[in-house]
């Protein structure tokens, strides 16, 4: 399936070094494993590229990281002031610039759900990659300004992000995961959390609309990324064909060749065009000669 054409470790390195096109990268963490080490991987992998400008927007971090080209302390800024400050460090969408810009937001939980999409859209631009950190275990206070059915910040970011990186601690065999989660919900942090070796789940949304998922073990000290689980293969095994089982069942070929699988991956599904929002929502109605149109009936007007 989709996984067949990508080497997971190379894909991850491309994401870390900002060579994979992804305007919004969402990093998900918890108090058990914060994304500080993950941010360092981005810095480590992109350090060879001298043309990268790192703008660090901080709601949480007081001490300016040494790798930040520009540091914005957002804790005392109103949203509009933050946007205008940020714009002074970034090129305008029309401007052509040679280098790349990485904007790290630590963390986006402090931007209210009501303003979230407006904030992202107002500063998005080509050449800029946003690395947005979101704490999954920080409960969201829903002000319901946009209505009770408006998606949560987590859902919005999940939808908008092209790449999602979720960090989790690596549990040893002797530790009961359920006990750890129960303790964490009481803010009792077990020993061995926030380690330099941790699990990373990568979700990468392809242009075709498919998303590919891998789980890695990351060692931040040695910068080694080891594939732990190819979640696409697991999914394929559960849902899809087993070529051996399909043999000799019929006089024609039921299985799919590698070439056919690749072609199938590259098909752009019809709903993707509907998501581009190019056509708007106009109702196109043409009268025909037999149509009976009553001008005095307000409900009759098809427009």
């Amino acid at each position: 399936m989709a996984s067949s054409s990508y080497n997971p470790s190379i894909l991850l390195k491309r994401i870390f070094s900002l060579n994979e096109t992804s305007p919004l990268i969402l990093s998900l963490d918890t108090i058990a494993q914060t994304s500080k080490n993950l941010l360092n991987e981005f810095v480590y992998c992109s350090s060879t590229n001298k043309d990268i400008t790192i703008v660090y927007i901080s709601f949480e971090t007081i001490n300016r990281p040494s790798y930040a080209t520009n540091f914005i302390d957002a804790s005392s800024l109103k949203l509009q002031d933050l946007i205008s400050t940020l714009r002074t460090y970034l090129p305008s969408p029309q401007e052509k610039v040679a280098g790349k810009f990485l904007v790290i937001i630590d963390s986006i939980n402090y931007i209210s759900n009501t303003n979230l999409s407006q904030f992202i859209s107002s500063i998005a631009s080509p050449n800029i990659t946003f690395l947005v950190n979101f704490h999954k275990d920080m409960p969201e206070l829903n002000d319901n300004e946009n209505g009770i059915h408006y998606p949560s910040s987590f859902e919005l970011l999940h939808f908008m992000a092209a790449t999602i990186l979720e960090v989790e601690p690596q549990f040893s065999d002797t530790v009961e995961e359920e006990d750890v989660r129960s303790n964490l919900s009481k803010f009792i942090i077990p020993k061995g959390m926030n380690n330099s070796t941790y699990m990373l789940t990568l979700t990468n949304k392809r242009k075709s609309g498919r998303s590919i998922n891998y789980q890695f073990t990351i060692n931040s000290d040695t910068h080694e990324y080891e594939i732990f689980k190819d979640m696409n293969e697991i999914e394929d095994n559960v849902n899809n064909e087993n070529p051996e089982a399909l043999q000799d069942l019929a006089t024609f070929n039921l299985s799919t060749s590698a070439k056919q699988k690749k072609a199938k991956d590259q098909v752009e599904l019809p709903f993707l065009e509907a998501q581009s929002f190019n056509t708007g929502g106009a109702i196109v109605y043409e009268f025909e000669k037999d149509d009976d149109y009553d001008e005095e009936d307000p409900y009759e007007d098809p427009f």
């Binding site: 949480e60 007081i62 920080m138 803010f187 942090i189």
Partner: protein
Amino acid sequence: MSGLQRQDLILFSDQSVISSQLCDGNSNDMILVTHTAATLPTWLVNALVETKVLGAPFSLKTDSTPSSNAQKSSRNDPLITIASFVHNADYFDKNLSKLKIGKNDYKMVDLFTDFVVNNIGKPKDKIISDILGSFLVDTGSTIVLEQPEILLSLIEGLTSDELSLWFITPLMKKCGLLIVVTSTELYFNNTPYESTQDKNILDHSRFTAACTYKSLAVLNLKPLETGRAKDVTGTLRITRGGAHDSHPNIHVVENEFLYLTQKDSTKLFYR
């Protein structure tokens, strides 16, 4: 318990309780102390104050006494400020005098006495800025802040984000090390905060989470899971916080101790 060997308290890899690298004027850090009603942190706060004033937590040490080894700072200004929403100045004066720490060795900001009477009717931003005004800017100093989460109940309309961004962050900028002492009693016996819609619980847990993400180390005091025991009061667990990597030369040494508090003394034992 008497057969077990007593242990000394160590938080950082340079064998210190509060590393000298934390208050060097170049960084602003936080340590979070969490506790429940059954495991009050008075002894631990005293030990941290003692460390700043006398150089080591002699009240917990196995082989030293303050009179023989204490090395007071030569600074004129106190190295530590204590601010509390749950105890008044007399409480700390009484406790610390037993450890041979005089009133001039620390600065006390009493946020407990008449807090509501003094602030009733004031806008929330004014109350917060008035509290902040009680602290001097000194990046070489340490501030101990007891139970700031009480402000969520005392100030009408104050949200957890406002408490974090308007109060905790500016206070961190005023000192080298901020030690926040907070109660986790709310989550201890109730349903997990993930499954509640109670705005108060959500606000409190959001604040506690925000503090955890900002902290270098988390010191958790919790009672025994098996109930009461005559020879153990609870456990002290030292773990890394969300900002654990902000000092490359030192790291938090994770550890877990059993402790026993009797009258005026506390003993630590390795678990």
